[in-house]
Amino acid sequence: MTRSEINRFHNDDLRKRRVGGNRFNSLPLGGEICAHLMVGLFSFLCVFPFAFVIIISFTDEKMLVENGYRLFPEKWSLAAYKYIVSSGEQLLQSYFITIFITIVGTLMGVLMMGMFSYAISRSTFRYKNFFTFMAVFTMLFNGGLVPYYMVCTQLLHLRDTIWALILPLCVNAFYIVVLRTFFKTMVPESVIESAKIDGANELRIFFQIAAPIAKPGIVTIALFLTLGYWNDWFQALLFIENNKLYPVQYMLKKLESSIEFIYMYSGYIDPVKRVEIIASLPTEAVRMAMVVLATGPIIFAYPFFQKYYVRGLTVGAVKE
């Protein structure tokens, strides 16, 4: 895709135009119905599983045990959410961790990558090719999981620290390329030069001129980062044992496997304890309610940031 094509795409809002340009060149009625059916069905499939989970979370626990998961439960109940409100310390703690790493990580990532991308977008920066290559090369080749794990645990001692959830995700070569494109295309060299003549140093130019001009790009990358942190469970899977540090996604993952564990090994556990353990674990509806609560914020925020997200995707496809 060339830049002009993308600009054209962004300039014309999706709503305002359609291929063919005018209404006389529309699909025949049969085709139109067919298109609606296909796209509509797929769209429905995309949201249906989430709707189903919401229904399960509002189903009476007894009904779940007797009838299984039903689309139209015989009895509704708020018990799962009441239970979470009254005894959801783990969920609260995990929410706190997730929000903390999301905010700190996003800020750190935007700041670090913003400065880096600004520097390599400057044509007067003597080492720009070296540093650009240094970042881009990591997209082509990596050491793999084992050496990465060893570096993080043995050299940086990240195991069971909050930094294990923040640091590994805050820099990404693809985001750097996207940001650099934004700086290159949006911030005119002449503006920077005139600021230099007025005596501003590079840091000041970055914070007071370049970053505000390239704000759409920075917002886009901040969204990418936020989403990455919110949805991450892999770093926790690798490095976190302490349940005080579980982010929401990993807590959900743990919830599922501990139940499976009890299920699989119930034969080997003392029966008295088994009942106790199973009773102490969240029940079916509560688990699904937690899934709803973990996904809720994304679902609500998503229609608002979709536009920026799409722009980031298409700009990423542009090459200098």
């Binding site: 094509e5 709503r15 060149n25 995309c46 989430f50 060893m150 970055f206």
Partner: protein
């Protein structure tokens, strides 16, 4: 020498600005790259830290690789490559089809709504998606087994019967990726010059003819680029899809084990770090070669879109 210092001084502000990311890249990307020699060593974790362990572990040559290729290499390579090929082909067909359909829907508001809902799965984590589909696949409570029961059929043990899993994984990949893929193609379709369609319309071309002779040919470059790029990553797979969605069920390893999950499981059990690292090395090298080859191919087709 004098020049070097002068250049450094001249660029010192910008050098200061690239410093944090540079440090990050060295720690999280370049040190692990050197750590790749673990694949050729009998790596023993030593309390003196990573570099000490790396330097003082014994060289064992290709022994780790011999062991790897005697055991699981074939299976995980086959799974990884076959799944990726199917994902690339089905993903391309679905993304392009839905992009074209979305652009053709006359009611723009509805089209926007469709697009928003189709894009949604992309924003969910595989853990959450795993739960979503557990609602359908759960053995005693799931939606599917209830339907089978009503139809008077035997329930399927979804998490221990490997036969449906290739289809489930292909479906899940489409479910999560189609919205994302069609956004890119929609951008390309929006970029096509409207006058082509107007001219075709004046000549009496039907909608289908316009799609076949204008839209698809105009999309060809984007399709080729994205496909070649995907081919470059054919040795990598989406860890969450293959690990979390089947709930790490051992009975399904035959059809769900890919290189990424193999490496992770090896790392988790610490059973044979050398062999696990060898698998990772194998993946990295093959991936690197494929990226170089695909870039070479893109350069031949359309050098404007090449990575380097």
């Amino acid at each position: 020498m004098h020049n070097v210092i002068r250049n450094f001084k001249k660029n010192k502000e910008l050098l200061f600005m690239v410093l944090p990311v540079t440090v990050w890249l060295i720690l999280f990307s370049y040190l692990p790259m050197f750590g790749i020699v673990i694949a050729f060593k009998d790596y023993k974790i030593h309390k003196n830290g990573f570099l000490y362990s790396l330097i003082y572990s014994k060289w064992v040559g290709l022994k780790n690789f011999e062991y790897l290729f005697k055991t699981d290499a074939w299976l995980i390579t086959r799974n990884t490559i076959l799944y990726n090929i199917v994902f690339i082909v089905t993903g391309l067909i679905f993304s392009v089809t839905f992009a074209i359909l979305l652009c053709e829907v006359a009611n723009r508001r509805l089209a926007k709504f469709y697009q928003t809902t189709m894009f949604l799965p992309h924003f969910l984590s595989w853990v959450v998606v795993g739960y979503f589909f557990y609602g359908f696949l759960s053995i005693d409570k799931g939606f599917f087994n209830q339907i089978l029961k009503i139809m008077g059929k035997e329930p399927v043990l979804w998490y221990s019967d490997p036969s449906p899993w290739p289809f489930i994984l292909i479906f899940m990949n489409l479910w999560k990726g189609t919205g994302y893929g069609s956004v890119v193609y929609m951008a390309a379709i929006m970029g096509i010059d409207k006058t082509y369609y107007e001219a075709a319309m004046l000549d009496g071309a039907s909608k289908w003819q316009q799609i076949k002779h204008i839209t698809l040919p105009m999309l060809k470059p984007v399709m080729i680029i994205l496909t070649v790029l995907a081919l470059g990553r054919i040795f990598n797979s989406d860890f969450g899809l293959f690990y979390q969605v089947p709930r790490d069920s051992g009975a399904l390893y035959d059809v769900t084990n890919v290189i990424d999950t193999f490496v992770f499981r090896g790392l988790r059990t610490f059973s044979n770090i050398g062999m696990t690292a060898a698998a990772g090395f194998y993946q990295s090298i093959m991936g690197f070669l494929l990226v170089l080859i695909s870039n070479y191919i893109i350069n031949k087709i359309d050098s404007e879109n090449a990575l380097f």
